[in-house]
Amino acid sequence: MTNRTLQFKIYRYDPDRDDAPRMQDYSVEVNPVTDRKLLDVLVKLKSQDDSLSFRRSCREGICGSDAMNINGKNGLACLTEVSTLKSPVVLRPLPGLPVIRDLIVDMTQFFKQYHSIKPYLINDTPPPERERLQSPEDREELNGLYECILCACCSTACPSFWWNPDRFVGPAGLLNAYRFIADTRDQATSERLDDLNDPYRLFRCHTIMNCVDVCPKGLNPTKAIGKIKELMVRRAI
């Protein structure tokens, strides 16, 4: 396998230096063996231009740091196969959140929505001496929910979240809300449903399904949102 040259157009903005954002062109020699993932190439680019800023940590798709908009679609740089990318590769920060610098966005609003759903187990009975029991079947209900890595690919791909990031919980927050609703050990289902029964918090989801399309962990927030809606209907009748 031989090296190939890949062109990049990367969103650059440093408020300390730039008046306005710009797209910067880069050209990089890609080694198909050592530069398999987009993150490998970004690290290489950074070794040539140390001002290029992006978040990264685990480089294996579990920490959720390196979410960005890659050729128009949100994804994790560390899980994006370079060979699948069309040249020039256009990299932008996640859409819909304020840019701090280059590919780094301000995630305050995203986490605020996550925190708003009370993302912790609520069970006010005195904790037993041993574990609370849960059948394997009940535990399985949490699959496809607890694996969320809070990378924000989904929420920042959601037009409803772009329009109302302060009022719509967004797909990531709602997926996590359902993670606790679905947990047989959690006793706050009714309060959780009350909290979400709001024209904005839950019902801004118009099943556009961008969230499902971009989730790097293959999760399905739309389905979780559907289940919350279903529980609300069932509760009403």
Binding site: D16, C63, Y120, E129, E131, L133, Y146, I149
Partner: protein, 598 residues
């Protein structure tokens, strides 16, 4: 940039690091009503605990009989008797309590048919003092660390813990009497520096696996706590002991959990042979990690490796039912497809031993207090300073850590350090001790150096050089000459580190500056490792050298007469000192020295 107007923020306690240990400590402090600040370079759920896969050990006995004394025996044996038996007893006794607590916090453990926490076999976990494998690893599929880190963060959200996210702690602040008074820290978004002035400082900064070229560790694992401690005159303990995990994906370094072998996976060489039967007839593929890594390296060195370059072996689970793989090892399947290009249901995974875990660290006792030698007393607490998790050395892992004992370490010692701080603060005056006039000097000097220098060594190239020296001179097998040469080379790298220049001078989210500051920490860890390894003239656990071979007189090359002791490396003059291993547990009888075999 000027660093003259430094904000001072006052807290009862400051915790540096928001991985498993930091978050567990934070719960203890926040729920006690203390004013606590938790600093983290990354959003808490991005800490490297998130990448742990296989499980957390506790003798719950949910599937078959188990006992904490068996767990203790396995841990002491795993440590090759270098672990302190008081701390090991403490950890193994506490394990069921902290794991059950974690379940109560909401951790989505897998379940047995009875609804209890699911437990799987793991390397070195045996019943009845080494007899046969036992199911002790409590698991959430193969995403235990992720599930645990999120559950701990969520509990902190409930406790309204105050986080300082994307703040990098830079230096430890001590006064003339040696009391620790907090840290200086950089807010990445603004480039501003603050002093976090605290009565108690807990380091939970994780490991430094990034000193090696091939590592399962995240980019952020740069040993910041160790660097800060070393610069502030705290010695580092047992830094020669690094765990090479048997199964990192060949080429990529990404971890494949030992839980794969716990679920029945088998290691094979080029001829398809299950070679572990020759090295560990009893435990086979589930022998301790150091043993398996050496066996794999021997297979590769002797020409029985796989692939065109014969440079890896295969981890085979193709004989397992696909349902088991999908249910118990779904994350591994994803990783194999992503990083090895193989679906493990259909084909075996190419793996190599990969640097994974640092057994040594900042010396502590089992309460989480940082301890240093004073006069004849080897373990005197440093007032106001605590450490827990991978950055600390309690020492529960000794010369080799058992799989799943790391997540347990985070829970037990995260909690214990929090509890100790709560108690110690009751004895302290209500007022904070005054900050010394030079509190920010070291930090200022480091930052101004980077701001001022326009040309010099590239941070990237220098870091690579450091990693290559460590990899070539201090790997799975160690050689007398290579180690001696390694010491020279790493001291040369240190010279380069002192000349690193960055081009980016921006205040805002300057990752070049952060990486250069991290390199200051990596070099301290690298020196401590190489110099300690060069000096330890025996083989023990993960430290195996050619001039201390397996002989009848000294099985496995271990030399208890001269080397049953902890190393203490000090930055000042790269000097070494030693202190005794604590062979006395807290309540039970000492586990007597024995030759280690699996």
């Amino acid at each position: 940039m000027s660093y003259s107007n430094i904000a001072v923020r006052k807290f009862d306690a400051v915790i540096v690091g928001a991985g498993g240990a930091g978050l567990r400590a934070a719960i203890q402090l926040s729920e006690s009503g203390l004013k606590v600040a938790v600093l983290s370079k990354v959003f808490p759920t991005r800490s490297h605990t998130v990448a742990a896969q296989g499980g957390v050990s506790a003798s719950l006995g949910n599937s078959e009989p188990d006992h904490w004394t068996w767990h203790m025996y396995d841990t002491v044996k795993g440590s090759d008797w270098l672990g302190d038996q008081d701390a090991i007893e403490f950890m193994c006794r506490k394990a069921p309590e902290v794991v059950v607590e974690l379940e109560h916090f909401g951790m989505p453990f897998d379940r047995t048919d009875e609804g209890k926490i699911y437990q799987r076999p793991f390397g070195g976990h045996m019943s009845n003092f080494g007899e046969k494998p036992v199911r002790r690893a409590c698991a959430a599929a193969d995403r235990t660390g992720h599930a645990m880190l999120h559950a701990l963060y969520q509990r902190n959200v409930r406790a309204r813990t105050q986080f300082f996210v994307e703040w990098m702690a830079l230096d430890l602040i001590r006064d003339a009497e040696g009391h620790v008074l907090g840290v200086s820290a950089l807010e990445m978004e603004t480039g501003e520096v603050s002093i976090f002035h605290a009565k108690a400082t807990i380091f939970a900064t994780g490991g430094a696996g990034r000193i090696f070229a091939s590592s399962t560790n995240a980019f952020i694992n740069t040993g910041d706590g160790l660097g800060m401690a070393a610069r502030a005159g705290i010695p580092l303990e047992d830094m020669e002991f690094w765990q090479f995990h048997p199964t990192g994906v060949a080429g990529a370094g990404v971890l494949i959990t030992e839980g794969v072998r716990g679920e029945g996976g088998i290691l094979r060489n080029a001829s398809g042979e299950r070679f572990m039967e020759r090295y560990a007839p009893n435990a086979k593929d589930l022998a301790s990690r150091d043993v398996v890594s050496r066996a794999m390296t021997t297979e590769i060195n002797e020409g029985r490796g796989c692939g065109p370059n014969k440079d890896f072996v295969l981890l085979d689970i193709t004989h397992l039912p696909p349902e088991t793989i999908m249910k118990r090892l779904p994350g591994i399947r994803e990783i194999s497809i992503q990083f090895a290009g193989v679906d493990p249901i259909k084909a075996p995974i190419p793996v190599v031993p990969t640097c994974h875990y640092q057994m040594g660290g900042i010396p502590t006792n089992y309460k989480g207090q940082v301890v240093v030698p004073v006069g004849d007393e080897p373990n005197v607490p440093v007032p106001g300073f605590y450490a827990a998790g991978e950055c600390a050395c309690a020492s529960v892992h000794g010369a080799n850590r058992l799989g799943t004992n790391s997540l347990l370490d985070l829970l037990v010692f995260g909690k214990a350090s929090g509890e100790t701080v709560v108690e110690d603060l009751k004895q302290m005056p209500a007022e904070h001790r005054s900050l010394p006039a030079d509190a920010i000097e070291r930090t200022r000097e480091r930052l101004e150096r980077l701001d001022a220098r326009s040309g010099g060594e590239s941070e990237y190239e220098t870091r690579l050089a450091l990693q290559r020296v460590m990899q070539a001179h201090c790997g799975v097998f160690r050689f007398k000459d290579k180690l001696a040469e390694g010491v020279e080379k790493i001291l040369e790298v240190e010279q380069r580190v002192g000349k690193v220049a960055i081009k980016d001078k921006s205040k805002v989210w300057n990752t070049a500056r952060v990486e250069a500051l991290e390199l200051d920490n990596l070099i301290e860890v690298a020196k401590a490792t190489m110099i300690s390894a060069n000096a330890r003239l025996e083989s023990r656990g993960a430290h195996v050298r050619d001039d201390a071979p397996d002989t009848a007189e000294r099985p496995n090359g271990r030399n208890d007469t001269e080397w049953l002791k902890h190393t203490l490396w000090s930055r000042d003059g790269n000097s070494l000192a030693y202190k005794p291993v604590k062979l006395e547990p807290l309540t039970v009888e000492s586990i007597a020295l024995k030759t280690r075999s699996y």
